[in-house]
């Protein structure tokens, strides 16, 4: 298995062999004609292209608002997205893929489509783009005046990428780690990494034909108290792997933790570190941007309180000058939002972004400290991952997960080491209570220990798993730090 992992750009012949097999997996695969798709993209209006939009936003220092949205049927998906564009004032749009498609269960997705037609409401939690096929995707793209991205959570998204990119989507979220560890239970990392090398190679092909497609590693992972160094390390690995296959437009993601200084430091260092590593590996011509996800863990059920969480996420994104912010909705705790609830979240976010457009968080000792600790941690992790790979970064990553050098809290995957336990410090920043096997030196370890001990002292209790549970529930219960009840 390990031998499948490329350490450089995959040979086109070799890629094509695999490709024939991939396109067989479902009838819509036959609709994909690469040459025709390239021509299609060449004619696509620039305002429908993600890389261009991101570049201009990045240059102007403004933050774009993007929702999540997907329903079972094509016409409904078009109406939903048009509504979010016009009424919701979204700057760019998503198409969120349903969970069956994500698990390559295309016949179950088909059942969901059929049942949705019968019930007259969406029975799927997303848009089964692969089942609908290339021309249905183009219908969606052409019905809108802003770029649309595929957002999912699919360990093996090769066919999904083939269909949707041919279908006119200009950005594709995910990565071999970030769409496996939080989204699967039994998929070996070697396999998902190889499958994502396929996707990146496909996009590298488009790039060779002059068509830039944006790629976005999924920053938030499990969305629940993920320390910045973890998501940063994974984002940078996936960026390097994508660049290796010829990807030239990359957006790195991070899920809000809730402490202003940590979050702003995270966005700043994410871009700095990614740039540094990409340059070092010779990918100086890769365009970088960042995406900040409003709090990705459990939300308050009360819709008004949800607005509080949304507003704080928007404010942090603006102060951090992230290129894009992914917006939550007041329905978050309850279920897939109605289009109205979705638009509500975007509009509250837009107002906040606009009001903070000309403001940022300037340097301070606190910000500096957060940046420094993140940079140190990421370097320690990445250095070890690279070492483990012996020249093959993908391989190194798989091995690093096995060894716990990389570890994602609360991940469902058996491939995850699963020892890392995060907890908030007394100011709400996410620190580590148990490091598992992360390759940190004493300085870093002491820093975290002291931060959490400090909270323990203030709360009059020993740090323990109960603290972690309290933190998991905290935002849903209207707090940031889960204080003892």
């Amino acid at each position: 298995m390990e031998t499948d992992l490329a350490k450089e750009k995959i040979d086109w012949e070799q890629f094509n062999q695999q490709r024939q097999e991939v396109l067989q997996a479902w009838p819509t695969g036959q609709e994909v004609d690469l040459d025709e798709a390239v021509e299609y993209h060449k004619k696509l209006a620039p305002y429908r292209r993600f890389p261009e939009l991101l570049k201009s936003a990045e240059e102007e220092g403004r933050t774009l608002a993007q929702p999540r949205a997907g329903v079972a049927l094509v016409q409904e998906q078009i109406e939903l997205l048009q509504y979010l564009e016009k009424e919701g004032e979204a700057d760019c749009l998503p198409t969120t893929i349903d969970s069956y498609t994500r698990q390559n269960r295309y016949s179950e997705a088909q059942k969901g489509i059929d049942e949705s037609r019968m019930e007259g409401r969406s029975m799927l939690n997303g848009f089964p783009a692969l089942n609908h096929g290339v021309s249905a995707c183009r219908e969606v793209i052409e019905s809108l005046e802003v770029p649309v991205q595929v957002r999912h959570g699919t360990p093996d998204a090769r066919l999904l990428a083939e269909v949707t990119v041919a279908g006119g989507f200009t950005s594709f979220e995910g990565g071999g780690i970030s769409y496996n560890i939080p989204y699967a239970k039994n998929v070996p990392l070697e396999r998902s990494l190889a499958h994502w090398q396929y996707i990146d190679r496909l996009i590298g092909y488009y790039q060779e034909q002059g068509i830039t497609i944006n790629r976005e590693p999924f920053g938030p992972l499990t969305g629940t108290l993920v320390p910045p160094c973890i998501s940063h390390s994974i984002g940078i690995i996936e960026s390097l792997l994508a660049a290796q296959q010829g990807v030239k437009s990359l957006t790195l993601g991070y899920g809000q933790c809730g402490n202003l200084y940590q979050d702003v430091a995270a966005i700043i260092t994410l871009k700095e570190l990614a740039r540094e590593y990409l340059d070092e590996y010779g990918y100086k011509d890769v365009e970088l941007s960042t995406v900040f996800h409003q709090w990705m863990g459990g939300f308050p059920q009360d819709e008004n309180k949800a607005f509080g969480v949304i507003g704080w996420g928007a404010a942090t994104a603006a102060l951090a000058k992230a290129t894009k912010v992914i917006v939550k909705t007041p329905h978050e705790a309850m279920g897939v939002p109605t289009k109205e609830a979705n638009a509500a979240g975007i509009k509250a976010t837009r107002q906040t972004l606009n009001m903070l457009k000309d403001q940022s968080l300037p340097e301070s000792a606190e910000l500096q400290q957060e940046k420094e600790i993140i940079i140190k941690e990421v370097r320690m992790i990445l250095d070890r991952v690279i070492e483990f790979g012996e020249g093959n970064l993908a391989l190194g990553s798989a091995r690093a997960f096995q060894a716990g050098i990389l570890d994602v809290p609360f991940a469902p995957s058996r491939m995850n080491y699963g020892k890392l336990l995060p907890a908030r410090d007394n100011n709400g920043a996410v620190r580590m209570l148990d490091f598992g096997n992360l390759p940190f030196n004493k300085e870093v370890i002491d820093f975290h220990k002291e931060k959490i001990a400090d909270r323990g002292r203030k709360e009059g209790r020993e740090p323990s798993f109960q603290m972690v549970i309290d933190d998991i529930y905290a935002i849903g219960k209207g707090m940031l730090v889960g204080r003892p009840r």
């Binding site: 969970s99 698990q103 409401r121 799927l124 239970k185 279920g335 897939v336 849903g476």
Partner: protein
């Protein structure tokens, strides 16, 4: 606490659902409450629930579904438990059972009609299910 020891609970997240956080907390809470917990984790099929219940002679099956496909995923589970001779095993289900914010009474009815003994709305705290297990098995509270 110790008296709950002889009640065993099969716990899992059904279908293609990977939401692992609530499952981990439920596991912890049911364990702390003294039940014997068999956690089959996320992405569990109906068969895995049934097999685990048979193997461990379970009293309760606690099904979680967060991602919205609960309706499709849970259909036929009751029938399968009956076929497997698990008529006496209680079936609980909870999470974000359907797609979207819907009227809870409707949703509850739907799942009760599917054969579940109890169904719980989004955000139910573990203590509620602990209390209900105790009630269903008439364990006196301290």
């Amino acid at each position: 606490m110790v008296k709950n020891k002889n009640i065993s609970v099969v716990l899992g997240v059904i279908g293609a659902d990977v939401h692992a956080v609530g499952n981990r907390i439920l596991h912890h809470a049911l364990g702390e409450a003294g039940f014997e917990v068999i956690n089959i984790g996320v992405m569990a099929s109906q068969e895995e629930f049934i097999n685990a219940a048979i193997e461990t002679n379970a009293n309760v099956i606690v099904v979680s579904s967060l991602y919205g496909h609960g309706e499709i995923d849970c259909r036929g589970l009751k029938e399968k438990t009956v076929e497997a001779g698990l008529d006496n095993v209680k079936l609980y289900v909870g999470g974000n059972l359907v797609v979207g914010k819907q009227d809870w009474k409707e949703t509850e009815k739907k799942f009760i009609n599917m054969g579940f003994d109890r169904a719980y709305p989004p955000g139910t705290m573990p203590q509620d299910v602990i209390d209900d297990i105790n009630k269903d098995f008439m364990i006196a509270q301290e």
